[in-house]
Symmetry: C2
Subunit: 439 residues, 2 copies
């Protein structure tokens, strides 16, 4: 067998196409422990460097799904839709759009991940709510979704175990940033969730995995091709991660922001603009796409109106509060950091650009995120944003506020944050949040 799998590695090494059967055998053998890790990582590097065809990627998705169970959502009576974001800083829309779409009468069963590297994770945000339990059984997950309209849980052992094993290997062998491997990892888990439709929020910019719009569109197309081969309804929103989303990055800070938005509050920054506006708008746009995928609305605009209504009526907040309660979370006890520190503008001018990845790394220094899987998160730590791209600032104006309980970490984070923004004399072109929507 070892020699047979070595032949498959050679085939990929030599840029030949693997058959569906070969991919299926490889993944099944790895899941059952027949193939050692060291053969898998050689294959992963060959895939990283030589790529995979669409057919190969679809076969990889299939074999990852088959390595575990698919959630049986047949007891949920309506349209089941989820959203997946490729990750960013301050990217907290899941917590708002899940309740909005549920309040609009659809179902959002969401299996989320943890943050790794500079990007945050929905699970970490929810777990900053004291008592919130993201480890529900799949049966309970379906039950809660059915009752409340949405439920947020973490990856379970039953779903795509091959993906979990392979992801751990990719993390330490330089094979994370591979299109087919990313596609397979994302889509296998989403398809195994038992959903009817999926909205992708594919981000581009300095805080995104994909630096350019073109790269983001390519990834979106690859992901959509897979979903379509499974007859799932799918749409991609290509959105900017050239600046952090909203007012906060950091776990309990982001939950706070979401609740404020669901309470229809605004927070006016020093330049007179609502610092919640972009989080709110992206959440509504993504909700509209999710609702429209159901086929129950005549246009995205109609779906958008339903989303606005669900949000403004307070019904989305009710869903969120119910969901927190049923999952054990005590929202009223959301913790806040004890210390803070302002990071100010060194010169006057226009806020010209952010290095969003560096902002994310400053978050890691504050323990708002993790660099390694076993790093411990401090739920209250994070960064507050006072300006958006294009804002005019004077020297000494606050650009960021660092929040946390460990002031000894603030100096290093401040240093990074100072490097993470540029002020120029010329006003930059207006920042556009949503670049395009791909069907």
């Amino acid at each position: 067998m070892t020699l047979y799998f070595a032949d498959l590695i050679k085939k990929k090494r030599d840029r030949q196409e693997l058959t569906s059967d070969e991919i299926q055998q490889f993944i099944a053998a790895y899941t059952s422990g027949t193939i050692p890790d060291y053969q898998v990582t050689a294959m992963l590097m060959a895939i990283y460097l030589n790529g995979m065809t669409n057919e190969e990627t679809v076969a990889l998705v299939k074999s990852m799904i088959h390595s575990g169970v698919t959630v049986d959502t047949s007891k949920i009576p309506g349209f089941k839709v989820d959203k997946h974001s490729t990750g960013g800083v301050g990217d907290k829309t899941s917590l708002i759009l899940g309740p909005i779409v549920a309040a609009a009468g659809f179902y959002v069963p969401m299996i989320s991940g943890r943050g790794l590297g500079h990007t945050g994770g929905t699970l970490d945000k929810l777990e900053s709510i004291p008592g919130f339990n993201t480890q529900q059984s799949l049966e309970r997950f379906v039950e809660i979704t059915r009752e409340i309209g949405t439920c947020f849980i973490g990856q379970t052992k039953e779903i795509c175990p091959a993906d979990k094993k392979i992801y751990a290997l990719r993390d330490v062998t330089g094979t994370i940033e591979s299109f087919p491997l990313i596609c397979a990892s994302i889509m296998s888990k989403k398809i195994a969730e038992g959903i009817d439709g999926l909205v992708l929020d594919v981000k581009f910019g300095s805080g995104a995995f994909m630096k350019t719009v073109e790269q983001a569109k390519s990834l979106a197309t690859a992901l959509m091709n897979i979903a379509k081969s499974y007859d799932k309804k799918i749409v991609s929103v290509i959105s900017s991660m050239e600046q952090p989303l909203g007012r906060f990055a950091g776990n309990s800070l982001e939950v706070f922001e979401c609740v404020e938005i669901m309470k229809n509050k605004k927070f006016t920054g020093p330049n007179g603009e609502d610092m919640y506006a972009d989080t709110r708008e992206l959440s509504l746009q993504l909700s509209a796409q999710m609702i429209h995928l159901s086929g129950k609305t005549a246009s995205v605009n109609e779906a958008y109106s339903l989303a606005v209504e669900a949000l403004e009526s307070g019904r989305a907040l009710q869903v969120f509060e119910k969901m927190c309660k049923v999952q054990g979370g005590r929202l009223s006890e959301l913790p806040a950091a004890k210390k803070s520190h302002k990071v100010t503008a060194k010169t006057a001018g226009y806020l010209h650009s952010f290095n969003v990845e560096k902002i994310g790394l400053a978050g890691i220094i504050l323990h708002a995120g993790r660099m390694k899987n076993d790093d411990v998160i401090h739920p209250t730590a994070g960064i507050e944003f006072h300006c958006k791209l294009g804002d005019q600032v004077k020297a000494g104006d606050t650009i960021f506020t660092i929040h946390g309980d460990e002031p000894e970490l603030f100096a290093e984070a401040e240093q990074l944050l100072t490097l993470a923004h540029e002020i120029s004399l010329q006003k930059p072109p207006a920042h556009v949040l949503i670049n395009t929507v791909l069907n």
Copy 2:
């Protein structure tokens, strides 16, 4: 540490050059067990697909040597020289040239390998001599070389342990056929042998790893660059593996052929030519290069004359017999196969080409070679060649004789051998054994 080594993998993945220190750390950590196999195989695949610079390869050689000990040959008073062949079918020159060069007054401390795939291994050949012990301590190895002029042993645990571990991984991850990895594996072991000079027999053709002369020259150049950075004298003979060498392929059969040649015997084939001639000539040419590397001869021609004299006088045979005796081998008890089977020409014409790799695979079917490391070799099994390229044959003439004790394997081997030669009506161009010598 795991993340640091992941960064080195990413560097190679992204075609950046690794520093000597980084390569040294990687190999040292793997030797000591700090890096898991699965990180090494990802690195090996990245090296396979992205290559290594000359500096990186030299650093890899150095770190492999440093993973173990270097043989202390300071007690051997004269010029110490070895030969390495890139492998072929019937390639038995080591057993003749070691004794020739020793008989001419130089020293040949030879650490050899086993056969794998279609190519044979010197150790397997010697071990077909009953009692021959290739597992000598390094002290005894130096002692025997000093006393007799040559000694043949197998790879020991002390020499280049990193190479041994890495080779085992390469074998099952499709990363054998990589220039820098091949170079590092060959040269680290040869430099650790404590030699002053090395002659490379780099083969090209259907039975060689390198299919073309150009590829063989490239490999020779890469190998020589490494040796030169270690101030070792080196020369490469680029020789043909478009046909098997000599009269036999198979372990005890090849020892028999070597002894016959050292007894200055000839064996006339059906076309009137000496079937030992090419083995004898290549052994003499390689011996001449080895002798000339010492700087004690004015020309390769003079060195060639010394080699001929050592062979024709019977002194090379005496060295071989002494070496066998001191290593426990009972040459007079060399076993022979009990059964044989002729493979005949299906049509008349000229022997136009051999597929030498297929001939080697026929040898594996007969258990004269091994496909996997733990396959057991049958020492008497093998193939006898009756014709050379360009020979005229009639339908029914014997082309090969299969030898072995397991006649049930003969049909499958015959099938392969029938596919492994082509007879045409046109006489092919004359076959040239040695293409060129590179200094």
